[in-house]
Symmetry: D2
Subunit: 256 residues, 4 copies
């Protein structure tokens, strides 16, 4: 059978990224408390293509991911990217693995337990000289508006917010540790299961810790600067405003 | 050219609905204040297909919608459905036209103005004997938790909520009137533009009107029962909880 | 602490459904080949609320689901619904558990293996007299247009389509068996991993089995009528048309 | 009333972007054929915030956009960004206005007409020294696999694809011209309304123009290089594969 992808291409234009997008796959990731966590991923895998070749070989991406899917860690992402570069004759390989990640969480007063979900991603970009890795988490938190509290006789508008942290790092970072940065930077953190004593606690805690989107990204930035392992980060906050039908947003990007 | 769709089908199974889905199209709808409003729609149009025929003629759906797209009202939806039944030789025709709808709204104290968006839909279902029409609106509102307020020393968790109302009616209903039912049934309504005096107002107003998802659907149900034009309704509320990463939900369906 | 939810409500309007929506949770479901499959779910759980009571107790829904999350089957869904009715003092309980489900699948010629994803759901609705259960699957397939093939000198437009089957049944149904109905009703089935010999096979197979959306729902309907276990079904097909920016759609609903 | 946002912030961390996100608003944009087109937008507007200040003034973003919403062009985006910088005392302002855009399109043989939808965006980024503007379009096209055609006895798998082009330019670019680049770079273009003679035409045209995702981005890149007005572009293609449940993807980024 003809290898159409291997034909010489005469347009002489190199392609930056070519590969597969939005592959849904079962995966297992490293878990701080339970060793391994089974979840499901959406995966993008790309390599570059020199200007001489007509196409890449798409089925090889799936074969490679299939070999690694039950042991995905930030550690072996480097290995996967090297295998991609070799088997696809590419100089650069990039990859993003997005997945929901669950942590067992206790309510602050009653101690009632349930699983809390976080959207996470491992992102890797690798050429012959160096590799760059990004850990990404999207964490739901509560924000309570300082202006609303200050100017009102009682009450204060609050809402669900989402903090997204992307971080480059030296050796190793736990998802759990980055998630804690997010959960401790807002007006209050969220819980899967709250009894009445807990609801009183989180209501008063949020009222005692008013924070604009601006405050929340700054709180997180200070913590991320203090984590020595991290070399670069971007932190974003989006407040699903309870008084508007649009969001309030803030973003800090920092290179150490 | 052969008419493959017109071939006789030997499986002898009638099809309930066949047609086009997710057509995006510019439309103009009737507007209470400004006569006509330009917006964009996502359209589904279906007819039934007798067991004898292999297929319907998909291009005719587009032709029909194209004739009516710049004057879509609940009034002429009946006409469109009749044209669908005729030109596609069908006994039944159904249609849903979803679109964002905008209303100019003044802030409660400062009077500052902006446009507020609402997700709306016209839904029609028509056979030779009768037609059924549903007006649908999805309205963002504020909800403030009565339990959180009652048990806490200060503050109360609140959040953005969405009320969805579907209503069948006798002669005519304005989108604006159904939207007002939703906006007056929660703890507070939302605004596109709030100055500081307005923010104080909505914060205190919400605190003065705590309401569970259960309260909000009941408040709306009472108002919808009172509108004589309405013969059936379903009202749903979803609170994007500020203390959880899941929603609270309530629904009432009522046949008069 | 006050039980605000337990207060008497004077509006005297019963609520059809109240509970939690869009809870994300890790689950394990029964698997035909491997006994148990770990995946992640989005869960809605509702009960009815008599007209006397102000509110339901939202945290109990999470507690109940947490007890069952690592062994969700269509079999114990009945048990969960009974527990919901008891602990929430309700006469009716409903529940939907949506999750991606993976099946290992071999390419048709080379036998190359990978995991294929399907969107599935268990749906239950239960009162004191009876329970109703629906199995739901959304399966990607290929459709190739018979009209395009017939009237063109060569080629035929084809595309990814999605078949959604919902089925009520007597005793027990495997997800795998309903998924096979969908995969064998289109022009061709999809695979996670295809080598060149497989690509030739699926291309020719699809060209040899042209089918309108209308044909595909009828093919599936005939098979579902033949499965004695099934008492009711609805089958929908949506073709993500390669020649249009809207979809072609067909639906058959059948009560035995 | 206190100006909480104006308070001095002691954390001494500047914020890169702060503002509003996902504002839905009615807009009018410049149209090559009809002068002005009414549509609906989703808008993000951000400024930077010096390290001294606690917060920005969110309501001013809405006020500014409200002044300009009925005459949004790439031309006056510069003006909006300058107004944002002034009224919010910022050195940098960025903005993205996303909207569906419609073009009347004739079928290739019958000449039958309908409106075709495209996802577009105006993106601007402006500081005291310079402004950068990006035009973005997402265009649905057909792709037909050259490998599938070459190795199969008959037929060839094809599917809906989406080409996304982002372009920086010197003076002025019509959305219509960039959309044409996308529509002429795939195996065939899409139409809102096709009669049988047209369906024969597009089927054969696509079969005569097989193209991988790699070919399609290269075809577009060559055309974009030739448009002198353009100084930088990124072109991405995603094929919604008809034989897989994931996409094929390719991307070229080019600085002139």
């Amino acid at each position: 059978m003809k290898d159409v992808q291997g034909w010489i291409d005469e347009r002489q234009i190199a392609i930056n990224k070519v590969g597969i997008k939005s592959l849904k796959y079962p995966i297992a990731v490293l878990d701080k408390d339970n060793e391994k966590q089974s979840t499901v991923a959406e995966v993008d895998m790309y390599v570059d293509l020199p200007k001489e070749y007509k196409g890449t070989h798409m089925s090889r991406f799936i074969e490679i991911f299939n070999e690694y899917h039950d042991k995905i860690t930030m550690g072996n992402l480097i290995e996967v990217l090297q295998v991609m570069r070799e088997r696809l004759n590419a100089s650069r390989a990039t990859m993003e693995v997005k997945f929901p990640y669950f942590i067992k969480k206790k309510a602050p007063v009653s101690g009632s337990e349930g699983w809390m979900d976080y959207q996470c991603a491992f992102i890797g970009d690798c050429n012959e000289d160096k590799g760059e890795f990004i850990l990404k988490v999207k964490v739901p938190i509560t924000s309570l508006c300082p202006c609303s509290k200050e100017i009102s006789a009682y009450g204060a508008h609050n809402q669900r917010s989402f903090m997204t942290i992307e971080a480059k790092y030296k050796e190793f970072l736990w998802l759990e540790d980055i998630i804690r940065v997010a959960e401790t930077s807002g007006s209050c953190e969220l819980y899967p299961l709250l009894k009445r004593v807990d609801e009183k606690y989180v209501t008063e805690f949020a009222y005692d810790h008013p924070a604009f989107a601006e405050d929340i990204v700054r709180n997180a930035a200070l913590k991320l600067i203090d984590i020595e392992e991290i070399t670069w980060f971007r932190v974003q906050v989006e407040n699903i405003e309870s008084i508007h039908n649009h969001s309030a947003y803030a973003c800090i990007e920092h290179q150490k």
